[in-house]
């Protein structure tokens, strides 16, 4: 154990987080003058244009549309707070929130713990690039393809997974078809796709923890478990907070897996909020109402992200 740690810290010291930024952003750093502003603007422009065209403007327009009655093919009509009033009394909206939260809890819960485990294993045991590549593989497959492959594999009558269950003497399970298993199934399929990617993000965070801390702990005879709870977790906190904020927001936006498999059913078991918005907007042409649901979702996500950042003190590190 001890030798393992020593070897690891010895070889890894001069690498990742220190060298790339230095070579990437060389000279202009120390001399920050007001005269740089026009140049800075030029560099910011491409991103700003993209932000304005693809985020800011659609967001503003969505906010406006949420106060209108808009069926897409006719011009929007001002409707005041009607859409929001309807939202409060819409059983399906609240159901979609409940279903989405259920998805996020399972998805993020399982994914974060599994990813953390994988990241720590990689950090403490192996530096193999091959293993890192393999972990990332599911993430390289398109969402829709992943969803369709699992959908076929999990079929109750013809799916290979249920064939395997039968061989070991279990009854087949209609994973996507039962109201009780549909959301957990979709959540776990997406865990499968994203866990490697999340693990790599956390792994990068782990590499920022100075090896000397571990060496000191090892010299003091600390166990691996104790080092995990006393060193890894506290020092990983800012990275973990960022990963959580990003994955939770991403998780709330679950759509494609539902769209290509259960389509909201059975009954309303998988009618997650984004699918509900899609149905209202593109199938029923209630763009005004769909926009109001979007705004509600935006408010919820913004609040959630703020809360997470506050609670996890993502802005400061315990390293300083």
């Amino acid at each position: 154990m001890r030798t393992g740690i020593g070897r690891q810290s010895g070889t890894a010291e001069p690498r990742p987080e220190t060298s790339p930024p230095r070579s990437g952003a060389p000279a202009p750093r120390p001399r920050r003058r007001a005269g740089d502003l026009p140049v800075a603007m030029v560099f910011l422009l491409p991103a700003a244009v993209g932000f304005a065209a693809f985020y800011l403007w659609p967001a503003l327009r969505t906010a406006y549309l949420s106060f209108t009655d808009y069926s897409l093919l006719a011009p929007p009509e001002w409707a005041g707070l009607d859409n929001y009033r309807r939202l409060l009394g819409d059983r399906l909206f609240w159901n979609s929130l409940k279903v989405t939260v259920e998805y996020v809890v399972i998805n993020i819960g399982v994914q974060t713990i599994a990813a953390l485990g994988m990241a720590v294993l990689m950090h403490r045991l192996t530096r193999s690039g091959l293993i890192r590549g393999v972990l990332l593989l599911p993430y390289l497959v398109a969402n829709v393809v992943v969803a369709l492959i699992w959908y076929t594999m999990l079929d109750a009558q013809l799916g290979i997974v249920n064939q395997a269950l039968e061989w070991i003497g279990l009854d087949p399970v209609a994973f996507f078809g039962e109201t009780s298993t549909a959301i957990p199934t979709i959540a776990l399929v997406n865990v499968w796709r994203h866990v490697g990617y999340t693990a790599l993000l956390l792994f990068a965070g782990l590499q920022a923890i100075p090896k000397t801390v571990y060496e000191a702990a090892a010299t003091d005879g600390a166990s691996e478990a104790r080092m995990f709870w006393r060193i890894t977790m506290p020092l990983l906190r800012p990275a973990l907070a960022l990963v959580l904020v990003l994955t939770v927001i991403g998780s709330f936006q679950i759509f494609d897996t539902v769209a290509v498999t259960t389509k909201g059913g059975p009954i309303n078991a998988t009618r997650v909020i984004y699918y509900y918005i899609y149905e209202q907007a593109f199938q029923r042409f209630n763009f005004g109402y769909a926009a109001a649901v979007c705004v509600a979702l935006f408010a919820i996500l913004a609040g959630l992200a703020l809360l997470q950042l506050k609670l996890l003190r993502a802005g400061d590190s315990d390293l300083d």
């Binding site: 069926s71 897409l72 093919l73 006719a74 959908y151 076929t152 594999m153 999990l154 079929d155 109750a156 009558q157 013809l158 799916g159 209609a174 994973f175 996507f176 078809g177 039962e178 109201t179 259960t262 909201g264 059913g265 059975p266 009954i267 309303n268 149905e279 593109f282 199938q283 029923r284 042409f285």
Partner: protein, 455 residues
């Protein structure tokens, strides 16, 4: 180019005049020289990939006859098709001509996104009575305007696995004279029960049948419940009781999902799940489609539409036959009779060319070309004969689908406003009943929600 713009400007004021002068202009150019300067490309959309080769052949023939017009065909899957079409209508980039569906056209017509064809029809003297009876009228909206010319039609029948029928000792003649009622299911339910086989080889109507471990279900359950229409799922049963979707069709404003005949039908249908003759909703929804389940030998019978013929007959090592849907309590069979048509986008820059393409699509020439590929049933009877023969050459007898037209037992697809909202109410409501989380009587409440849309 400038001339087209000018023409388009005139078109907004005098569509009739344009239809007349435009076609004279174009035919002059066509006969004059092959390199006429006014070349136009019109776009055409359809959703069925099986039909793409047939319509490409039509487009080629059309281009050969009208060298100045090129038709560019795009094909999208059913779901993407309607989302794509809607967003393109909004952004003003919709295709000049597109395949339209009875479920969608009322909304497009009401929002003035598709062009009434009456003036073109009148100017050219196009006949609208050359199609199978009733098809052309489907495309006349509540305001009396015509929004499409028929291209094909579809009906529903029963696909069966011949080997399973043989093994069960059921003859194909028996299949042709099935009866059904919502109380005991008639001879239809008897053969479904007999065709169901459990893991121990016991049939559904034998003592000791294990309904928890079924190997082959007598009847397949579609992965979609058909929401409020149930075209190939339950409509053929419900309609054979004498029940109708709406107070009148087309353009009904009151749905009748609260009718005891409808609710008894649904109760019987889901009863098949309870008896172990049909898979549960959960199984049907768990991954593969009903037709793939049939192809894999999981179902002995499967009700589906005529547009699926080539899919069902295309499965490897499965010998397939078809039978008409059973005769119901009304003494008649029933099936929904649904027709597709081509519509012109109201914002098209080439109204005249688009109309000529629509006219060609609706002509015997193009429909015979389509019939020749044996993929769908063309709307013009003489083209249907061509298709019939081509299907026969492939070993497919389509009489199970056409018999109901000859016997006049078809019912129109319910054409109403608010189709997508109705689907959003009825889809989950039917799901709840089929998964035994609600009773069929709960459909009365759904019916109230549906009818409230028309208030």
């Amino acid at each position: 180019m400038r001339r087209i713009t000018r023409l388009a400007a005139v078109a907004t004021i005098l569509p009739l005049a344009l239809a007349g002068c435009g076609s004279g202009d174009d035919s002059g150019g066509g006969s004059g020289s092959a390199q006429a300067p006014e070349k136009t490309e019109i776009s055409y959309w359809l959703w069925d990939s099986n039909q793409l080769p047939a319509y490409q052949a039509c487009a080629d023939a059309f281009h050969a006859a009208n060298p100045e017009i090129t038709v560019k065909i795009s094909q999208f899957g059913w779901a993407d098709y309607w989302t794509g079409l809607t967003t393109n209508l909004v952004s003003g980039n919709a295709p000049d001509v597109f395949t339209n569906h009875l479920n969608y056209y009322p909304e497009f017509a009401a929002k003035q996104q598709i062009l009434p064809l009456d003036e073109f029809v009148a100017a050219d003297g196009t006949k609208t009575d050359v199609y199978a009876p009733g098809l052309a009228d489907l495309w006349v909206s509540a305001d009396g305007k015509r929004y499409g010319l028929p291209k094909d039609f579809d009906t529903v029948a029963i696909f069966y696995n011949k080997k399973m029928l043989d093994d069960a000792g059921i003859t194909e003649d028996q299949m042709k004279s099935l009866t059904w009622n919502p109380d005991d299911g008639g001879t239809y339910e008897k053969i479904i029960a007999h065709l169901t086989v459990d893991k121990n080889g016991k049939r559904g109507d034998e003592a000791g049948f294990d309904k928890k471990n079924v190997k082959v279900y007598g009847l397949g359950l579609d992965e979609n419940n058909g929401a409020g229409v149930g075209q190939q799922m339950w409509s053929m049963y419900a309609l054979s009781t004498g029940w109708q979707f709406t107070d009148k069709n087309p353009w009904g404003t009151k749905f009748q999902y609260d009718d005891p005949r409808f609710q008894k039908t649904i109760a019987w249908w889901r009863g098949l799940i309870d008896k172990g003759y049909m898979p549960s909703l959960a199984i049907a929804r768990s991954g593969t489609s009903v037709n793939d389940g049939f192809g894999a030998g999981k179902y002995a019978l499967s009700t589906n539409g005529s547009w699926m013929i080539n899919t069902y007959y295309g499965y490897d090592k499965v010998e397939v036959g078809t039978a008409p849907t059973p005769v119901g309590p009304s003494g008649k069979r029933a099936t929904i009779y649904n027709g597709l048509a081509d519509s012109i986008y109201a914002g098209t820059k080439h109204k005249d060319q688009a109309w000529r393409w629509v006219k060609y699509l609706a002509s015997a020439d193009c429909q015979k070309t389509v019939g020749d590929k044996a993929v769908v049933f063309p709307a013009i009877p003489e083209a249907l004969t061509v298709a019939e023969e081509k299907f026969k050459a492939k070993g497919i007898d389509i009489s199970a689908f056409t018999v109901q037209i000859h016997e006049n037992t078809t019912s129109l697809f319910p054409i109403t406003d608010h189709a997508s909202d109705i689907g959003a109410v009825m889809g989950p409501a039917m799901d709840a009943v089929l998964s035994f989380e609600a009773e069929p009587s709960s459909l009365s409440k759904a019916n109230d929600e549906v009818n409230a849309l028309f208030q």
